[in-house]
Amino acid sequence: MSESVKIVEKKHVPSEATMIVGLPDVGLVGLIATSYLISELNLEEIAYLDSDLLPPVVVLHKGLPHAHKGLPHAPLRIYGNQNLIAVISELAVPAPAIYPIMREIVEWGQAKKVKRIVSMGGIPVESRQAIKEPQVFGAASNQELLDMLSKSGLNIMNEGYMVGPQALSMRYSINKNVPAIAILAQSFYNYPDPQAAAIALKELSKISDVKVDVSKLLEKGEEIRLKARDIMKRTQEEMTRMKKSQEYDLPLYV
């Protein structure tokens, strides 16, 4: 367990659950998708992440499911029900903190015997505004999962770099032998992309029991884009620090 990062459990944490991770990243796809999931499935806050590597921030919310009005919350929180665990951050995770945080999340998931870890995120595409329906790509930590994604009709990301939370989720999950999947929708790089989040959620429903109606998410798209400007801006600064643009590079393996 990492000493610099601690997961504090508030309620019973289920075992054998699917763990969805949606940290701020490209187009905030993972964060928007996972937050929507939490709100639609009325998931309960079961734990939070504490670390001196994070800025000294608490967030006050009146509208959180099961929360007392206006009480402070940790920005990096874990929600759940009997079958599902969802991790979100309302804070752009500082680039140097992403390693211990992802390591702790994966190790905690392993301790809770999660069925699999699913990282939701975006793939930046330059011509996003010209794309009507973004495509979704999948990656997996083992061949069996990759075959499952392929059979479910998901495009497989065969070649390329992954950078950031999804990359570390995959790397640490392989180390710990925890099954892991990444679901990545084509999205804007630094504009919040609720449509990409909705499409990623549709694909998630094809490969899991997690099913939500995304129509409300699409309806609220403009409102989300207005509200998400600040966290997108700060996330962009952190993406620059973690060299996120390497995802545009072509890998070399001769």
Binding site: Q129, Y189, N190, Y191, G221, R225, L226, R229, M232, K233
Partner: protein, 149 residues
């Protein structure tokens, strides 16, 4: 009777330099302290997210403009390298609409300013607006081609 052109005084030159200095200082302050809010209650503006891409032939500025009336989009070259984009929102947004009760103010437009760092020909700009994202393409003003011997 034609008016005799006034000779530029040393004070005119100094004023001009002082104005340039002020502009530079503003720019430096913006880059040194980017922590300012993304809203301005005096101008009733929310800051729009934007991007600048510079290619060898053109400069492409994009801006995320949710909740706006497309016909109110205004793109203005403040000077040869500073572009300002403004657009009126379909309906005003108050802090209270965003669930915030410890601040007061309402916003009626989105605005962004981008320094493009190369001279552009603003008169030949091409504008498109798709899915709430504005794209403005400016041809670059000067291109030098050196022939390879």
């Amino acid at each position: 009777m034609s008016e005799k052109p006034r000779k530029r005084s040393t004070f005119d030159t100094m004023n001009e330099h002082l104005e340039e200095f002020d502009e530079l200082a503003d720019e430096l302050m913006e880059s040194a302290f980017p922590e300012g809010p993304s809203w301005n209650t005096e101008t009733c503006c929310l800051q729009a997210l934007s991007n600048v891409f510079i290619t060898s032939r053109e400069v492409i500025v994009t801006a995320d403009l949710p909740n706006i009336e497309p016909e109110t989009v205004k793109v203005e070259a403040v000077d040869e390298t500073l572009i300002e984009i403004t657009a009126k929102m379909k309906k005003k947004v108050r802090f209270a609409d965003l669930g915030i009760c410890h601040r007061q103010g309402e916003f009626s437009s989105l605005r962004c300013q981008d320094r493009v760092h190369v001279a552009v020909d603003a008169e030949k700009m091409k504008i498109s607006f798709k899915g709430g994202v504005l794209e403005v393409r400016f041809p670059r003003k000067k291109r030098y081609e050196i022939e390879v011997e």
